[in-house]
């Protein structure tokens, strides 16, 4: 069981790496194009990366791998989850802006109170919110794909869907080693899928302009 916890913590650092990579590419885009969409994307993944990092430290602290870390463990977990939720909110918020501008509000918003008020502990509430925001992101990314027919968009929608499935499993099934392994694998696959656009961007990069508009 301790090996699984160690794997889960390692996954948090993989998540942080992926999130910070996406945030970095988005931030470069903000500098070069001053795009508000990229600014929101950059903020989203910066929050996510920091959240993953804090949760990773929390995990290693709870396994006593980092000495003297026990005192602030709960604070660290809540802060990590809060930042992660904020990240997923910004990710969904980017789509919400498009939706509002198109004068079409997402039906998914109606599910929000159902997801949030059924839970009692703060950690579970934040996890539920994260799951909801990812789900919203999946729906909107799929909607974007129906308009642009870009295979990369479908790939990201699939990645988010797999990530959402992992989150759902972690909410629905708290016990069982096999289920824990499956939800970890789902989250890992989802995160790696999100990294693909960064890889493609890095490979196709021919250099650009660094000044402001």
């Amino acid at each position: 069981m301790e090996g699984l916890l160690l794997l889960e913590n390692a996954l948090q650092f993989v998540g942080a790496f992926v999130a910070f990579s996406i945030a970095l590419v988005s931030y470069k885009g903000v500098k070069q194009t001053r795009s508000s969409s990229l600014l929101r994307l950059s903020a989203a993944f910066m929050f996510l990366g920091t959240g993953f990092l804090l949760e990773g430290f929390y995990g290693f602290g709870s396994l006593s791998l980092i000495p003297g870390f026990e005192v602030s463990l709960t604070t660290l977990l809540i802060a990590g989850l809060f930042l992660e939720t904020a990240g997923y909110f910004f990710l969904a918020f980017s789509h919400m802006l498009d939706v509002v501008l198109d004068k079409r509000m997402g039906v998914m918003l109606a599910l929000f109170p159902l997801m949030a008020i059924n839970q009692s502990s703060l950690a579970v509430v934040l996890t539920s919110l994260s799951f909801y925001f990812i789900l919203y992101g999946v729906v909107e990314t799929l909607f974007a794909y129906s308009k642009n027919r870009n295979p990369n968009t479908l790939l990201i929608a699939s990645g988010l869907a797999v990530l959402a499935a992992g989150w759902w499993m972690s909410l629905a099934f708290t016990d069982g080693l096999l289920l824990n392994i499956i939800q970890l694998l789902l989250k890992e696959v989802g995160l790696v899928t999100l990294f693909i656009p960064v890889l493609k961007f890095s490979l196709s990069k021919k250099g650009g302009w660094n000044g402001p508009v």
Partner: protein
Amino acid sequence: MAQYRTQTKIIADILATARDLNTAGDGVGITTLLRRGNVSYSRMTKLITDLVGAGLLVELNIEKNSKYKISDKGLSFLQAYGQFEDFAQSFGLRL
């Protein structure tokens, strides 16, 4: 349904027009930019002033008429725009 264009997209459209329609090499007039940019006159003049100020467009005065052509900096912007547009599109977003 008409799609909302962001400020960045409008700038990219103006720069692309200045690049693509400058076939004679003597620049593109504001009427052409207006027609292709699809924004109001007052907004276009403000945008052009900003773009010239930022060095993305070059203003040419030919026979008392102002014409505009894209600068090297503008071409680099369009190249970066193309790359980041694809990146943003992957996440279902528009630049």
